[in-house]
Symmetry: C2
Subunit: 198 residues, 2 copies
């Protein structure tokens, strides 16, 4: 049992560390040695858990996707789509420092791995599409079925752009400014045609 646990511990530690370092410096920029050293796992031992670096990358993508799944479930407790949209925006503000330091942890990874081609590229596209699809559902549920896709793209773009600019300037306060604007936008939109719950 101890053995099994220490196995999963190491594996988990490797993924965690890879996730953190990849967010800070980019995945390709991060060497396996860096990851192993930071995770306190002997360098060569990494290959016991992951056959290639790409496989570790997949694990990181899956972890990020799971992260978003977790977010969705939290949102499930809220009763209206409007509340969920506000909660989404709030979650952006809560991560302002993280965003200013390394950009968006989902789309940053996605656009980086996109070039790799193969299974990784395909899988990483979900990092973009999952949040987009979820936002689209919310707008639909909020009675904006007509251009739910457009609204979702707009909100998500605004989020991405804010992350990019905050990262570029290193200023987390820009996130706060933009979040306020986004909230006003959602509020105005919801007044237009306020329909239903869930």
């Amino acid at each position: 049992m101890t053995t099994v646990q220490s196995q999963t511990d190491k594996r988990t530690r490797l993924i965690d560390t890879a996730m953190r370092l990849a967010h800070a410096h980019g995945f390709r920029e991060t060497s396996l040695s860096d990851i192993a050293e930071t995770a306190e796992v002997p360098i060569g031992n990494v290959y016991y858990y992951f056959k290639t670096k790409g496989e570790l990358g997949e694990a990181v993508v899956e972890r990020r996707l799971a992260e978003f799944q977790g977010f969705k479930e939290e949102m499930g407790h809220l009763s209206s789509a409007k509340e969920r949209l506000f909660a989404f925006v709030d979650s952006i503000e809560r991560r302002k420092d993280q965003l200013a330091r390394g950009g968006c942890q989902w789309v940053g990874l996605c656009s980086e791995l996109r070039l790799n081609g193969g299974a990784l590229a395909a899988k990483s596209a979900a990092l973009l599409n999952a949040p987009l699809a979820w936002l689209e559902e919310q707008f639909q549920a909020a009675g904006h079925g007509r251009d739910a896709r457009g609204l979702a793209v707009h909100l998500f773009s605004a989020f991405q752009g804010t992350a990019a600019v905050a990262h570029g300037t290193g200023d987390p306060e820009l996130v706060v400014m933009e979040v306020r604007r986004l909230k006003e936008w959602i509020a105005a939109l919801m007044k237009t045609e306020n329909v239903t719950t869930s």
Copy 2:
């Protein structure tokens, strides 16, 4: 004279190629061999023009900055800030395919080189700040001095986000959708307090 010209030609070709490949695959991902081969300059010869890869990177940044300077000058022909803001947005739409393929050529480079530290990082920050400052001036000139900075950040963020999402999905039509939205936003804003020319 022929000799001198072929020198500058090679140097120029190297920068051009580096710029193109860096936009497509990222600067660090692009090897000097790739650049030299594509530019049809012998590999080792690169070091006659640039002592290090970083120096070539600087040249690329400078070229991108010059590109934006050129844009500013074109905009100078327009008589009102409002027109210039619309022209900015139009220029985004014109580059939709480029954006869908490789993201924003300014900020993409900036955020990539940011990690490098040193002179390159400092210089590349201008890729973000120059457009931001210019947008701020336009909003000021258009009579929105109060929150010109906020408006500039908003517009530029929207641009960046659109580029990121279009790149992630590979769909240039998202740019068109967002551009329409941005134009409406500017138009509404200008009605609010329409003041002056230049």
